[in-house]
Symmetry: C2
Subunit: 255 residues, 2 copies
């Protein structure tokens, strides 16, 4: 099954379009690992996938801790996304993606800013061979995103000034990406990106909770999957919070 | 001593402006570690710093393998650069930089595309507190760099169309970065970036060897440090190759 089919399947099985970003504040590696495992076991009925970041990879290591979390997620019916924001030269990008896919990750996140030729092409080729996913950053959720993702650029195809994120959305479409990340903090931009992508490339939105994004506005604008980290991982009752968020998301999606 | 003082000192001590990119092709972790250590021990007299990438971090892990390499580099009088190309939201960027600095890295590489506010500001602040370095990507060495680093953007300060890499060079200057990466494959761009940075921010150039960059052209254009990976790591006689490259660099720099 491809990554897209897997996450679609999990979303239907769990009645959830909520992705858990397993971002835990730094602590001792064995504590981090056991907290990650506990969280996943508590929260799994309400989520459709798990996203892992360098918060866990750097202290836990790939072959030991991360592999256990990825395996557990799979046992719980959840595909896994590695948020490595790949943005290097092609040779390095391929090596990075290979390490993550080999540990079992179903998808990686990459930055289209590095381009295709000797950039992300080797990652897309590898993903295709291994039937894994590549999700592209289109607009991020922080304020400084305005400086890069929000800048006006000369669109080489039209010769006209265009927003950087719309050019990235076009790349997501033409490179046949498996997803496009647009921060939930910018519903207006989600709407514009959705107008480019329609149902061809699903939109993933982080930034709800700690960063202030609004679930309903994001979904109404075209987001398919909401990515939530600290609002769940730092909650007193993570499972209850995840269920609450899941219910809000599904209610908005049903509208 | 700050990172900039450290690498400057090492360059003078070793009569070398050559940085070894310790990029080894994937193999078993214990083989990778011993090859890295052997390479470093052979090559150290001819280099002024070591750059490490995810090629090593992902298989070796931070707290075990990478820490040993960083410690060895320090014992050999070499500062260390982590080529993590940081490009996430501020909270994650800070966590990533913290992990690398805590293992002992003297500097990290970051992508200015994510902006300052809730982007790289937390990394620069952390670096300042810890007296470590932040080197910014300005123009990369691969072909696809043209799509992002080479695009024309509306410069918000002047309202005029400007090359992306020149806007990044201005950020390197105003954010007081410790270095700016410009691919050796584009000496014309090195010259333009040098015109912005002058001696305030030293230029680091990868892309010599496997990627076809020319040492003399890069140095004449304004590069201070050459970063070389595969041309040394895959050479039959790495030390001899490193010495040869070092000698060419120093001869060009003396001109």
């Amino acid at each position: 099954m491809s990554f897209r089919a897997k996450i679609d399947h999990a979303a239907k099985e769990k009645f959830s379009n909520l992705i858990l970003a397993l971002d835990l504040p730094p602590s001792e590696p064995h504590q981090l690992l056991s907290r990650s495992i506990n969280l996943l076991e508590e929260v799994h009925p309400y989520i459709c996938a798990v996203k892992i970041n360098r918060h866990l990879v750097l202290p836990l290591g790939l072959s030991t801790g991360i592999k256990r979390i990825v395996n557990l997620a799979h046992d719980l019916g959840l595909p896994t996304i590695m948020d490595c924001k790949i943005n290097d030269i092609g040779n390095t990008n391929r090596v990075i993606a290979e390490f993550y896919y080999n540990v079992g990750f179903d998808s990686v996140i990459a930055n289209p800013f590095v381009g295709w030729n000797e950039g992300l092409q080797p990652v897309f080729e590898l993903a295709k061979r291994k039937r894994r996913g590549v999700i592209l950053l289109v607009y991020m959720s922080h304020k400084g995103a305005l400086e890069g993702y929000g800048q006006e650029i000369m669109n080489p195809k039209t010769g006209e000034l265009t927003s950087q994120y719309l050019v990235f959305a076009e790349k997501a479409l033409s490179w046949n990406a498996d997803g496009a990340v647009v921060g939930a903090t910018f519903p207006g931009k989600i709407e514009e990106v959705y107008a480019v992508l329609k149902e061809h490339v699903p939109i993933y939105s982080p930034g709800v909770g700690a960063q202030g994004g609004n679930i309903e506005a994001a979904i109404m604008a075209g987001t398919r999957y909401l990515i939530v980290g600290r609002a769940i991982t730092l909650a007193e009752e993570p499972a209850r919070t995840a269920k609450l968020l899941r219910d809000i998301i599904q209610r908005c999606a049903d509208k």
